[in-house]
């Protein structure tokens, strides 16, 4: 598929637009307004990047597991969708510098005996399809169930299915706040989340990195993070 090519070599689907993908099913990172537009941390970051690039932000909603494929096949210019940097993905797409730091956490029902990764052996763990959490889970158990979204997985856990869910600690926390009968257990590891850019578009990668740097410097990223989480998750933890 042919894209518009800017003078500096940046390729865009449409020369005035920054079309960025998110799932809309990962509250509070991305979720739907009542007018079916998306909002959330990821989405505001995406819009801030567009503004910095001088382009019109265009949201594009895709099921999470289809996003990387969507970027590869040119259905969006970039994905601001909480993608954790990992080597497999790096083979297929490019990552910018991280725009937030987080980590997968074990979630269980409140009465569960599972506390740490050691307790996961042989237990049934549900994760979202296409997320790095299925790799994480695979290190501790071989009984993995997959859903299309993290929240569906948490919902299933809450209604009594499966033994645990591994997902981002922020997501789990907000689901618990919304009344899901789940409890956070061990934080498994640290992860870095970044914007996803097609590999054949190095100029765009460069420009998005510059934009992110600017947003870090002028405090925009911290401000958005505080708005959604009450804390700043955009700084690398020590």
């Amino acid at each position: 598929a042919e894209k518009d090519k800017l003078t500096d070599g940046t390729e865009l689907i449409h020369k005035n637009q920054f079309i960025f993908a998110a799932s809309g099913e990962f509250k509070p990172f991305s979720y739907m307004n009542d007018d079916l537009t998306m909002t959330g941390f990821d989405v505001e970051v995406g819009e801030a990047i567009a503004k910095e690039l001088g382009l019109k932000p265009i949201q594009k909603r895709m099921k999470f597991k289809g996003i990387v494929e969507g970027i590869k096949t040119g259905r969006a210019d970039a994905a601001v969708a909480s993608h954790t940097i990992n080597p497999q993905r790096s083979k297929h797409v490019s990552f910018t510098t991280p725009y937030y730091y987080s980590g997968p956490q074990i979630f269980t029902r409140p009465d569960s005996n599972i506390k740490t990764v050691k307790d996961l052996a042989g237990k049934e763990v549900a994760v979202a399809k296409g997320s790095t959490y299925s790799d994480t889970a695979a290190k501790f158990t071989d009984n993995i169930k997959t859903y299309d979204s993290d929240i569906t997985a948490l919902k299933a856990l809450s209604t009594g299915r499966h033994d645990a869910v591994i997902t981002d600690f922020v997501t789990g926390k907000s689901a618990a706040k919304e009344g899901f009968k789940i409890k956070g257990q061990q934080l498994i590891e640290r992860s870095e989340q970044a914007v996803v850019i097609p590999q054949d578009n190095p100029q765009l990668l460069k420009r998005v990195n510059e934009a992110l740097e600017q947003l870090r410097k002028d405090g925009t990223l911290s401000r958005i993070s505080k708005k959604y989480f009450g804390e700043d998750i955009t700084k690398k933890p020590e």
């Binding site: 979720y31 009542d34 007018d35 909603r61 494929e69 040119g74 979204s149």
Partner: protein, 221 residues
């Protein structure tokens, strides 16, 4: 299970959203059935042509579509087509559904074309009309009429099948329901609401189809 009051409250609150989604569902269905009719007609004509290879191509198409789940077809076409040329999402989804519907519609047309009396073709030929002309002017109009009720039925099936476009990011009824459901951490309410929308749509369509059937039965010449 949500309480009835809660259900009704959300139903009223979200009607604008769902109406938009419903329009997309209808657009997907109508467009995919219309393209499906073109595709179906094409393959039905291949099938009845005197060339063996054409019949074989038609059979293969129908077999591939009938032999695999729609969701597999949708994914293959959505991701596969983008390797070749990038259709806008709506058209990619419509085309995937259309190729699915097309196989079933091809079978409908094949059936109704073959159900037209052979004497009709002979009468046309005996008047000096070519085979193509007789097909176009004499056989197909009659075959189309007979195809209306099964096409109506296929429309209803297509309406329900369009829910699978949710998985390739169409904001149609089912997608909106699950998204809102997961955002509001209240899946059941939204699923039940969307079920009601489908039930009403299908009931309306069923009524329309039965009316068409009746009016055809009356005016049957």
């Amino acid at each position: 299970m949500p309480s009835l009051a809660h259900f009704l409250h959300i139903l009223a609150e979200t009607k604008g959203l769902f109406l938009n989604a419903l329009l997309l569902t209808l657009k997907l269905t109508v467009v995919s059935i219309l393209i499906g009719i073109v595709i179906g007609l094409f393959f039905a004509l291949l099938k009845i042509s005197k060339f063996k290879i054409a019949g074989f191509i038609s059979d293969t198409y129908v077999y591939l579509v009938r032999g695999t789940p729609l969701i597999v077809q949708i994914f293959i076409l959505y991701f596969g087509l983008s390797g070749i040329f990038l259709l806008p999402d709506f058209w990619a989804a419509s085309l995937a559904l259309a190729l699915h519907n097309g196989a079933y519609i091809a079978e409908i047309f094949r059936g109704t074309i073959q159900s037209v009396d052979k004497g009709q073709m002979e009468a046309g030929r005996s008047l000096g009309m070519t085979k193509a002309l007789t097909l176009r002017r004499i056989i197909l109009p009659q075959a189309f009429r007979r195809a209306l009720p099964p096409l109506g039925n296929q429309f209803i099936i297509g309406l329900k099948d369009s829910s699978l476009a949710a998985f390739i990011s169409m904001n149609e009824l089912f997608n909106v329901a699950t998204t809102l459901g997961s955002n509001n951490f209240d899946e059941m309410t939204y699923l039940l609401i969307v079920a009601v929308y489908y039930l009403v749509l299908v009931a309306l369509m069923t009524f329309v189809v039965s009316r068409i059937e009746k009016s055809l039965a009356v005016s049957d010449r």
